[in-house]
């Protein structure tokens, strides 16, 4: 019996992939515990968790505290080049293992990796810092300030102690999290997800190879435990060890965390999101504009097989059902285009398939375009469907005016892709009021503006421990 209480149904000689840990610069191998990847029901093995090794005592200064930011950025950039080198053994082994436990096709995983590595670029990293901090020097020094009454102080964006709970549906989110943790000089513990217990360690190993004794390597640890496991969480989720828990995503693994949040132990959460699209009647001006809008919409739906938070799931369109059907026909066709060269898509989850097929039969309310074969469908309706659109399912909802679609915008709405682009300015105040966090041109949900706020916050600004040293008044000794 393993720690999940599942009787081993694995055949004894079936190879179980090992997911080693990375703890403060050292790789920890071992197959003491067998876990199951939730998504594909595949086993992987990890070492036993050594709780003491996961924390840095507060009596010791964070290793990166006085490493200049410029050096950290150079270090990250060099690590990025190593990771991007074709045939990097850690990355290749990682991609291979991930394709077994993740729902995403291999090509999508490779794409996401490459995409994440673009983050590890000097210009990008500097821009991220500059956008997050009015004065980036605060990361390196105690920056002098004076208030209008003449009181002097020194402010430091002090290195925080962070626990990160990483998502399983975004392979390579670990790269970004590592980079951001390094930029704020944090001591960071990354808890990996069962759908991706490999990539974060692979990156840290590559980073450590640049210089294993570097304070950056010594500041980071990445391990796996089952989300909610009190044997670990009750012990280490404490303000004595960490300032903040950074939750990248949601679900049961995060719900369990709430009971630990309290004075001195704060939650920074990038909550689960449903992103949407909005299409104005201008799309129907011509066949070309219609095709353009539908194509752009399809791009936003299909990112990473519609697994990512930025992916569009609902499209609100100013159209009659007949018009919307013309749009949906093109949209479905575009969604079903095989952009990653994966000729055999994963078949639809049976419950999702059933939901979609029932709507085909309720044909005075709904119209469904595209087969239920996992390649994608577009569903036309007059209110949003009550199931969560997944696996490239786009629900196109007819409205008479996009302003009337605001009732469907809520705090779970992250990205709103808009067409035509000149309508963004007229919609964004209402979208923000509804709770949305990001308005983009339809078709551009994927690329992100460097250093822009994410989920309604400036993440790095939120991570640090803002410390002030007040020092009398100007004119005093």
């Amino acid at each position: 019996m393993n720690d999940m209480g599942i009787a081993q149904s694995a055949t004894p000689d079936r190879q179980i992939d090992s997911a080693p840990f990375f703890v403060k610069g050292a790789v920890i191998e071992g197959a003491d515990v067998i876990h199951r990847s939730r998504d594909l029901g595949v086993d992987f093995a990890t070492p036993q968790v050594d709780l003491d090794s996961l924390v840095h005592p507060r009596t010791e200064l964070p290793p990166l505290l006085n490493t200049p930011l410029a050096e950290i950025i150079d270090f990250l950039a060099e690590a990025g080049q190593r990771l991007a080198r074709p045939g990097n053994e850690h990355v290749e082994a990682c991609i291979e293992r991930m394709s077994k436990v993740s729902l995403q096709p291999v090509q999508a995983i490779r794409y996401l990796f490459a995409n994440a590595l673009e983050y590890l670029d000097r210009k990008v990293l500097w821009e991220v810092v500059e956008k997050n901090f009015p004065n980036p020097k605060a990361l390196d020094e105690w920056v002098p300030q004076t208030d209008h009454t003449g009181r002097r102080s020194y402010v430091r964006a002090y290195a925080p102690r962070l626990v990160h709970v990483l998502p399983g549906n975004a392979p390579a989110q670990g790269i970004r999290s590592i980079a951001q943790s390094a930029l704020v000089k944090s001591v960071s513990l990354f808890k990996m997800a069962s759908a991706d217990p490999f990539s974060t360690v692979a990156f840290l190993r590559s980073i450590a190879e640049v210089d294993p004794t570097h304070p950056l390597a010594r500041s980071m640890s990445a391990i796996y435990w089952r989300g909610g496991d009190e044997a670990v969480e009750r012990i280490i989720y404490r303000p004595q060890y960490f300032d903040k828990l950074v939750a990248w995503g949601g679900g049961d693994a995060i719900n369990n965390v709430m009971k630990y949040v309290g004075p001195g132990f704060q939650l920074v959460s990038f909550d689960p999101k449903t992103s949407i699209s909005m299409v104005g009647r201008e799309a129907f001006a011509s066949e070309d504009t219609l095709a353009e809008a539908a194509r752009r919409n399809a791009v936003d739906v299909s990112i990473a097989d519609q697994e990512a938070c930025v992916c569009s799931r609902f499209t609100f369109i100013e159209a009659t059902p007949e018009q919307a059907d013309r749009y949906c026909e093109i949209l479905a066709h575009e969604i079903r285009v095989d952009r990653f060269g994966d000729t055999i898509p994963r078949s639809l989850d049976p419950e999702l398939k059933e939901q979609i097929d029932v709507l085909r039969m309720l044909d005075d309310e709904f119209a469904v375009f595209g087969k239920s074969d996992g390649r994608g469908v577009a569903i036309r309706s007059d209110t949003p469907v009550d199931f969560h659109p997944l696996q490239k399912t786009a629900n196109v909802v007819c409205v008479d005016d996009l302003r009337n679609a605001m009732k469907y915008v809520n705090v779970a709405t992250q990205t709103v892709g808009v067409y035509p682009f000149d309508r963004m300015a007229g919609l964004r105040d209402h979208l923000a009021s509804g709770g949305a966090q990001r308005v983009v041109r339809l078709g551009e949900a994927g690329p992100g503006t460097i250093g822009a706020p994410h989920d309604a916050m400036y993440p790095l600004h939120r991570f640090v421990h803002w410390m002030v040293n007040e020092d009398g008044c100007v004119g005093e000794g």
């Binding site: 998502p167 549906n169 989300g227 949601g250 679900g251 449903t274 029932v358 309720l362 209110t383």
Partner: protein, 448 residues
């Protein structure tokens, strides 16, 4: 044209369905499923759609059946907005996609709410049962009078096959459980009581009933909260109602304990699921009663698994001890609301027996392929074709993992049987899933 179906279903009286071995019935079962298919494919749109997609026009083997099986969630596939917006005509049309018989005979005039809709369906011969589902969205299962009659009688026969409980026992009813008020539950419960209980001692309005209306209200509230349209006072009112309902439930539990203690000298028939039964036993002991106080011929009717209840490892012994239960009066069965056949547990083998008109199809975890049926036990996802079901399609894929053996059982019955280690896949998958894409549901607190 239902000769094969009739032959198999006709085995129900007297529990004869448990006598036949798989080899004796397998061909007849396939023929019977084909009869049902030919008869129903035109009328049940969901099945017709699947048959067309899979290119199936005749059932010649069990493999042919697999694409035609409906996932258990099929009966929850109606858009919630049909109920929230009171679109009874639309909901009726949806019902038509899963019902064997046309729904155009349902008179919707004057229907104000979901309970009214159910009454209108019933008046037209469509007995719709709503489950209380864990996601809050009820499953709606149409049935005919023939189904209610069969289920009632079948339940009584199964009890006699699986235990020494007998008609005429004149037992005093006891137990606890929140049971949705549906025609189906009334029929089954009524038949059991008529057969085994002293009806003169039954007090009306015994247990707390969950109306479909209250479940729907929960869905509406959740939508209103997530959509941002619920005002604080509305939420406060809803929370007061929920608290009041909980209070009633708590009171009913207390009353159930009182009932047990009051009638402890009688020969009882206790109906409950394991979790609540354990709680009843604990409370009875807490109040100072136990084995010496209870009748040696007490009987218990247990359906369903633990369903996530937290109980200590020795919960069964604890319960048997508390109520002075002997094994021969303990009836357990495995079944599901989408079918209507009881798989009664045998005492010797401790296995759930599958009667001849119930076809068990073990599938792989995905539910797409039939696993080989041979001389060894098979572990897989439980799917069934219940040939007795009339008002809807009898083929269903459940959420359970079972181990089924098609050989005769050590108890002497030759029917296929299922081991007593049924689990729901949902319960064993673990909750370590974390994703950055999700719905507003994560943001709604307090409406489960």
């Amino acid at each position: 044209m239902s000769e094969a179906v009739d032959r198999l279903v006709g085995l129900m009286p007297g529990g004869k369905g448990f006598d036949l071995s798989y080899d004796e019935v397998r061909d007849l079962q396939v023929a019977a499923i084909n009869e049902r298919f030919q008869d129903r494919v035109g009328g049940i749109k969901m099945v017709k759609h699947r048959a067309e997609e899979a290119g199936i026009s005749e059932i010649r083997s069990l493999e042919d059946v697999v694409p035609l099986l409906l996932p258990h969630t099929a009966y929850k596939s109606y858009p919630e907005s049909f109920i929230a917006d009171k679109r009874w005509d639309r909901l009726t049309k949806w019902l038509g996609t899963v019902s064997s018989y046309p729904v155009d005979n349902i008179d919707l005039s004057g229907v104000q709410d979901i309970d009214g809709w159910i009454e209108a369906c019933q008046a037209a011969g469509h007995f719709v049962s709503c489950s209380s589902g864990t996601t809050g969205k009820p499953a709606m299962l149409p049935a005919t009078q023939a189904d209610l009659d069969f289920a009632g009688q079948e339940g009584v026969e199964a009890v006699q096959w699986g235990s020494d409980i007998r008609p005429g026992d004149l037992r005093t009813m006891a137990g606890y459980g929140t049971v949705a008020q549906t025609a189906r539950n009334a029929a089954s419960g009524g038949a059991l009581m008529q057969a085994f209980a002293d009806v003169s001692k039954i007090r009306p309005g015994k247990g707390p009933a969950i109306t479909i209306g209250s479940i729907i209200r929960m869905i509406e509230m959740r939508k209103a909260i997530s959509g941002g349209s619920a005002r604080p006072e509305e939420i406060a009112e809803y929370e007061r109602e929920s608290a009041a309902r909980q209070h009633v439930l708590d009171g009913a539990f207390s009353a159930a304990v009182d009932n047990l203690i009051e009638n402890r000298a009688d020969r009882l028939l206790i109906m409950a699921m394991w979790g609540p039964l354990y709680q009843l036993a604990a409370e009875v002991r807490e109040r100072g009663y136990g084995r010496e106080d209870f009748h040696p011929e007490n009987a218990v009717f247990l359906g369903g698994g633990l369903k996530g209840a937290t109980v200590p490892a020795n919960y069964k012994e604890y319960i048997y001890e508390t109520f002075n239960l002997q094994p021969r009066f303990i009836y357990q069965m495995y079944g599901m609301q989408e079918t209507q056949t009881s798989m009664a547990r045998c005492a010797t083998g401790g296995r759930y027996h599958i009667p001849a008109w119930m076809v068990c199809l073990p599938l792989d975890k995905d539910g797409s392929n039939l696993l080989p049926i041979g001389a060894e036990p098979v572990e897989g996802r439980a799917a069934f074709f219940d040939l007795s079901v009339d008002g809807r399609w009898g083929g269903i894929i459940s959420g359970d993992r079972i181990e089924v053996d098609y050989r005769p059982c050590a108890c002497g019955s030759r029917s296929p049987s299922i081991a007593d280690n049924v689990v729901r896949y949902a319960d064993i998958e673990g909750d370590d899933k974390i994703a950055c894409s999700g719905t507003i549901d994560a943001y709604v607190r307090g409406v489960s």
